[in-house]
Symmetry: C2
Subunit: 430 residues, 2 copies
């Protein structure tokens, strides 16, 4: 790690200067944005939404060049679809910005306030974190979505998207910056890194005096790269190995529909179910019907020994299957003795992301909620709801499976911290 | 950094095994403690308090050996006083544990709860962080104070105190562990590292799969050592360069008494004032009287040019003085044009710890509260109140000047995080 950094220090002198310049400008802008009232911030978000519509031709034109290059490089049709922008997609991005503008402004809220025996009035006030770096490789909508949440929460942001959408990101960034300026806010509160060199990310990750938080979004490789090279705190999750436990007392119809939804509604995302745990007393009744519905949807099942006694046609699940985030129409299935074995399995193989129990038993619902060590724990609901929008945070900047600062889906609130404010009348300490 | 680690890997094979064993046992104990109700946790805290009284002779005996060795090594009288335990000091530690037991249990609290349009009930539930490592070099009271707060908040703790109090810490640790056992809780929830080798700290700092948070307490050297060698998130503050700004409209008597208190009541701690900023329009009136009171208390003043025009007898403050945490009866003084210059000075030289304004002007009080980027910002109060007990957190495990997770004094609440809990009726995502 230090070796890579050392090598890059020499090779990337211009990159280190670029990163430091951007970070310094972001820091300055963040001090202004931190004090901005909700009015100008929401004005900027409205202007961003309008700007994306007004300048759709320009953005789509720049995106066309990205798409052309991606085709020339032979990227898959799925990849090209992911990075393509249309008027409709831009309209949805603009709609997201309008939704963020409608959220409550978290900054300045006094979270608690209490009076001390000596008369001091002590409160905790929500404040922005400062400067946030977002490193992503996904669709260009992240550029606007992440910037919108950062501006709403009073943070400056440095955006470093994938090289395959560099022109699209820069074009969107121009609209966002003009909108800030139009609202009387510093345009440097949103900056898109204009180069595709990975060295720029490395340089950015060194700037812990200017950048308060880095959020990597993308595949496990990107996230590990960021986590291992960062001097700045990183909020992240590597993967989502989500479980559903179908308890003895589950309503079989509900268990079926929830499990099918959690597996097939969008299998390529982190909150899709990867392992289904089934109580031994319901397995014989539940598994054949559930397997039929899952297989009708094209799901390949891989079972433990006991599962395969009930479903003899399916593949055997090996030890590695319990660790696997398939991100595909594959599901591992295990029959367990009871809820304790289910919780122990999750403790051993889970990723602390999202788990759900399907049960009609009160005690077990409480045991699961309290006993499972994951960022989102559900009763009788699909794991697919583990998402900032779906949980009602208004929008999502990422998901954290580390417990410090934020645990689970992160919205605007998770981009703030609190400081103590103390109002006295001349008190001194005895 | 990696080199040190690599070297130690070979040299300290037994230490790495010791650290891993302790961390694994702590992890196991943490899973039990996380689910423990307030009853047994408070029972353990009461038993700890009683145990320290009942076994005072044993603890003081072990402490005597530490003191003897410290004397033989020629430690200063002040140092020896710091590490000495008496019945009275043990009684105060026990009292602290009783106070912690009386705090509200933060674990299990539902912080928010809301209903989604599809009927899902979504809440955020407070949970412990898991395993916390405390690395300290200060008085043996930290052993019991930190352990008490960790147990209260449902966390297991690994305590690594200074080598000069190793016997005292182990003796206190025995009482704490027996108390946990007596309350039916796992004794491995509190463990004292039994060796003085610094390699043991290095080994502990690698165990990010078992330990969730490290809190270093002590001098800047220790804190930097921990921060630079840790793979585990670290909550810390390097130093406290605290400022008081005496505004134009300050009540001069209040300004004097608050500034004297903030400087002299206990100069060797992080929340003592190190720099006094004085509005130019009050300087001529305020400075001579304040200087007299401060000098009467033995404070050496170092001033900027403008200060020295009013107080010609004092030393000149150089650029390095504005960065200095004296931890002593020395104070740097600067005359500023207005509140903006005061805030800019704090932004440039401050440590984001604690700053206070003395003013009767409403607008400036708000400007200071909102504009100063520190973990604790005060109006008309002594910076010495920036402390978990004094602010009403019940107790303090440390102070954070990084904005992630916690910012400012940290109590039991800051040793928790929240997870999402979701109660459904079979909802699936469309």
């Amino acid at each position: 790690m230090s070796d890579i950094k050392e090598k890059n220090k020499l090779k990337n002198a211009p990159l280190s200067k670029l990163a430091a310049d951007m970070a310094e400008r972001a820091r300055k802008a963040s001090l202004v944005l931190a004090k901005a009232a909700s009015g100008p911030k929401n004005d900027a978000l409205h202007r961003m939404a309008r700007g994306l519509a007004d300048r759709a031709d320009y953005i789509i034109g720049q995106n066309g060049k990205d798409v052309e290059e991606a085709r020339a490089k032979g990227l898959s049709a799925a990849m090209i679809d992911r990075l393509s922008l249309t008027e409709d997609r831009l309209a949805r991005i603009a709609d997201g910005l309008m939704q963020v503008s409608a959220l409550e402004d978290p900054v300045g809220e006094i979270v608690h306030m209490w009076k001390r025996p000596n008369g001091l009035l002590v409160g905790k006030m929500r404040i922005p974190l400062g400067v946030i770096g977002i490193v992503y490789e996904s669709r260009p909508n992240v550029t606007a979505d992440a910037a919108g949440l950062c501006v709403k929460s009073g943070n400056a942001v440095i955006l470093r998207g994938g090289s395959e959408t560099i022109r699209s990101n820069i074009a969107i960034g121009e609209v966002l910056r003009d909108s800030l300026k139009g609202a009387g806010l510093p345009e440097d509160a949103v900056q898109v890194v204009p180069v595709t060199d990975r060295g720029a990310v490395l340089e950015m990750l060194k700037l812990d005096e200017y950048i308060d938080l880095v959020i990597p979004r993308g595949g496990e490789g990107l996230i590990r790269f960021v986590a291992e090279n960062s001097r700045i705190p990183v909020l992240k999750h590597y993967k989502g190995v989500c479980h559903i436990f179908v308890d003895e007392t589950a309503d079989p119809g509900m268990a079926e529909s929830v499990c099918v939804n959690a597996k097939v509604q969008r299998p390529g995302v982190c909150n899709a179910m990867e392992t289904m745990l089934v109580h031994e007393k319901i397995a014989k009744k539940f598994l054949p019907a559930a397997a039929k519905r899952l297989e009708d949807e094209g799901v390949e099942l891989r079972g433990c020994e006991r599962t395969r006694k009930i479903l003899p046609g399916i593949k055997k699940a090996g030890e590695s299957d319990w660790h696997e985030e398939y991100l595909d129409l594959i599901l591992s299935v295990k029959v367990v003795k009871d809820i304790d074995e289910a919780i122990a399995h999750i403790e051993k193989y889970g990723s602390m992301h999202t788990e759900s129990i399907i049960t009609e038993n009160y005690t077990n619902s409480q045991k699961f909620i309290n006993g499972v060590n994951s960022s989102t724990v559900m009763v009788n609901a699909s794991t697919r709801f583990s998402d900032g929008y779906e949980l009602g945070l208004g929008a999502e900047i990422g998901i954290s499976t580390s417990k410090l600062h934020a645990f689970g889906p992160m919205g605007a609130l998770e981009l703030t911290t609190t400081k103590f404010v103390v109002f006295g009348e001349g008190q001194i300490r005895e």
